[in-house]
């Protein structure tokens, strides 16, 4: 059974078709890329897969469960997590709290337990603390645990956001332009980080990225979309040489 099977996904906003008949399939363990010019509909695909939009047409089956129409938090509980193009951390909560809150689906207690401070509450809070600290330790963020994300440099904020996404224990991690706004040193660090996460957490990663160095050095398989439609798919080498892709990115005027 495939980990995720996306079939003929279409998204219309009024008269505008943002994504049209997009399909993909991952068996589990891949590192896939989704590229395309600005406004091609990449983030819309992610928004549908993460449950933020309900697709106008098409099916998404994740781990055997159809997810189209589920609330985002239910989709996340099933095992899809994501980061955002513009960092959306909770900037006035500490880094540790950011990581902790992302464990809401595995909290294991109810509001009554929180009021009454039952054994179940205490045990689960201790577990949440422990897993959050372990995650921060693994990503080398432990020394920033009490900082507010707003006070961290941009590159670190990216890393904290990825850590928060991992804290939901995903099987599939969606990274929406993780290298956007990073300087070249940070980009190199990001490539190593994504590769390390892919290996260490044994999860499937699907990323949108504009910087070709990142996509080409990380992704095993890339899909290209333009105006909401898939125009090409293949390995990085194939994509780089594909005339349709070059045309989409550079335009077809003769220079």
């Amino acid at each position: 059974m495939a980990l995720i099977d996306v079939d003929n996904l279409t998204m219309r906003f009024g008269g505008l078709t943002a994504v049209s008949e997009f399909s993909t399939r991952m068996e589990g363990g891949e590192l896939m890329g989704l590229i395309g010019p600005n406004g091609a509909g990449k983030t819309t695909v992610f928004n549908m897969v993460s449950g933020f939009y309900t697709p106008s047409e098409g099916r998404i089956v994740f781990d055997g469960t159809p997810t189209a129409g589920l609330k985002p938090h239910r989709v996340t509980t099933l095992g899809i997590s994501r980061t955002f193009q513009n960092i959306r951390l909770w900037h006035d909560l500490s880094v540790l709290d950011n990581i902790r809150i992302a464990q809401h689906s595995r909290m294991g207690y109810t509001s009554w337990d929180a009021f009454l401070r039952t054994r179940r509450f205490l045990d689960n809070e201790a577990r949440i603390d422990r897993t959050a600290l372990e995650l921060l330790e693994a990503l080398d963020l432990l020394r920033f645990k009490d900082e507010l994300p707003r006070n961290l440099p941009y590159g670190l904020q990216r890393k904290v956001e990825i850590a928060r996404a991992l804290s939901t224990k995903p099987k599939l991690l969606l990274l929406d332009e993780p290298a956007a706004g990073l300087n070249s040193a940070d980009v190199k660090g990001l490539i190593d980080l994504v590769r390390w996460i892919h290996k260490e957490f044994k999860i499937t990663i699907w990323m949108i990225e504009h910087q070709m160095t990142v996509v080409m050095s990380l992704c095993q398989y890339i899909q290209v979309i333009d105006f909401g439609r898939q125009i090409a798919a293949g390995t990085p080498e194939e994509i780089q040489k594909n005339p349709v892709v070059i045309k989409a990115y550079l335009g077809d005027d003769q220079i």
Binding site: H73, T77, S81, R88, W90, D97, I101, H104, R164
Partner: protein
């Protein structure tokens, strides 16, 4: 061990002082009422702070939930404990001791259910729209009460002072002081427990980025419901206490002005700060009452230095100039309120050893 017990001990001691001073006659009836209103305002400010501060929403119908709690608990106590137009008392007057707190809990629960009914249709709205919905809801509650004649309609409902008298005659203690004190402590305690749990931190996550919260597996609808119910339930508790402190309720007590007064305390204390809300509740209550005495003094003073013409007297109406003026100054010079989003323990880290914050 002593450090962990220090907060309960300090609370117990201050309760004992209040009770002792009231019984010894040092605090007269008026002073006692002011103290009780401090307690009630602490409940109102901290509970509204949960929604307007922690969750970053803009609810302005807190008085409506107070009204529900006030009427439900008053009806219960009057019905069960006194000979009223509903019939003779169903319980002996000694039962007031345990029945009164029970009726407060039932009043709070009724207000929480009302909160649920208001919260359900307002999920998809935020900001201004939620403000309108909550104002509308509080008006629905107020005019419903005005139009139910069995509970007095617009004339109001009374008989609660006999319930308080029944408690006092069973065991001679200033019971209302004890219960408002207990109510305020309970309210701060339960909100503190809520917002310091991972569950309750979801409230702050919703405030700062609702979309991110939902995508990071926070069940935002559920959290909003629980938070709204907790907040309105506590407002109902405050309403029940207020009804019994005054001995008389009237739909006119629960207008938009009352809701505004509570909002002023929240914004003055600092959004999302429990200790700020408590401080503001103290400050506003004492300020409101204090001006009663300060204004005549000011009047004499200004006449003495020839700043006011002989024919003009500085009346109590000036309270409504002075307090808004203070608010404008506060918003100009310290817009984040007294405490901002901080708690007392953030400012004085040494306090942490006396109470656990989590």
């Amino acid at each position: 061990m002593l450090q962990r017990l220090s907060v309960p001990l300090v609370l117990l001691a201050s309760l004992a002082v209040c009770v002792g001073l009231s019984m010894g006659g040092v605090l007269d009836g008026y002073m006692q009422t002011v103290l009780m209103f401090v307690g009630i305002n602490v409940i109102l400010a901290t509970s509204l702070n949960l929604i307007n501060g922690n969750m970053g929403e803009f609810a302005c119908g807190h008085a409506g939930f107070m009204a529900v709690g006030a009427y439900v608990s008053s009806l219960l106590t009057v019905l069960f404990l006194t000979d009223s137009k509903f019939g003779p008392a169903l319980l002996p007057s000694g039962a007031a001791l345990w029945f009164f707190p029970l009726s407060l809990v039932v009043g709070g629960a009724a207000a929480a259910v009302t909160g649920l009914l208001v919260a359900l249709p307002s999920f998809r709205t935020r900001g201004d729209y939620l403000a309108i919905i909550t104002i509308a809801a509080s008006y629905i509650i107020k005019s419903s009460i005005e139009n139910i004649d069995t509970i007095g309609g617009a004339r109001g409902f009374m008989g609660m002072s006999r319930v308080v008298a029944a408690m006092n005659s069973t065991i001679d203690l200033p019971w209302m002081i004890i219960w408002t004190f207990a109510g305020a402590v309970f309210c701060v305690w339960i909100i503190q427990r809520y917002v310091s749990s991972t569950y309750g931190k979801g409230v702050m996550a919703i405030c700062q980025d609702e979309v991110a919260a939902e995508i990071m597996s926070v069940n935002t609808n559920r959290i909003k419901l629980v938070t709204f119910m907790l907040s309105s339930g506590l407002a109902g508790l405050a309403g029940g206490l207020m009804a019994h402190v005054l001995g008389y309720v009237n739909p006119g007590n629960f207008t938009i002005l009352k809701s505004t007064e509570i909002m002023v305390m929240v914004y003055m204390g600092g959004m999302g700060s429990i200790s700020g809300a408590v401080m503001a509740a103290f400050l506003i209550t004492f300020l409101m009452e204090g001006l009663r005495f300060i204004i005549p003094m000011l009047d004499t003073l200004l006449h003495a230095v020839w700043l006011l013409p002989d024919g003009y007297e500085l009346t109590q109406v000036w309270k409504w100039v002075i307090i808004p003026l203070l608010l404008i100054m506060l918003m100009m010079f310290r817009p984040e309120g007294i405490m901002g989003a901080r708690e007392l323990a953030d400012l004085f880290p040494r306090l942490r050893q006396y109470y656990k914050f989590k």
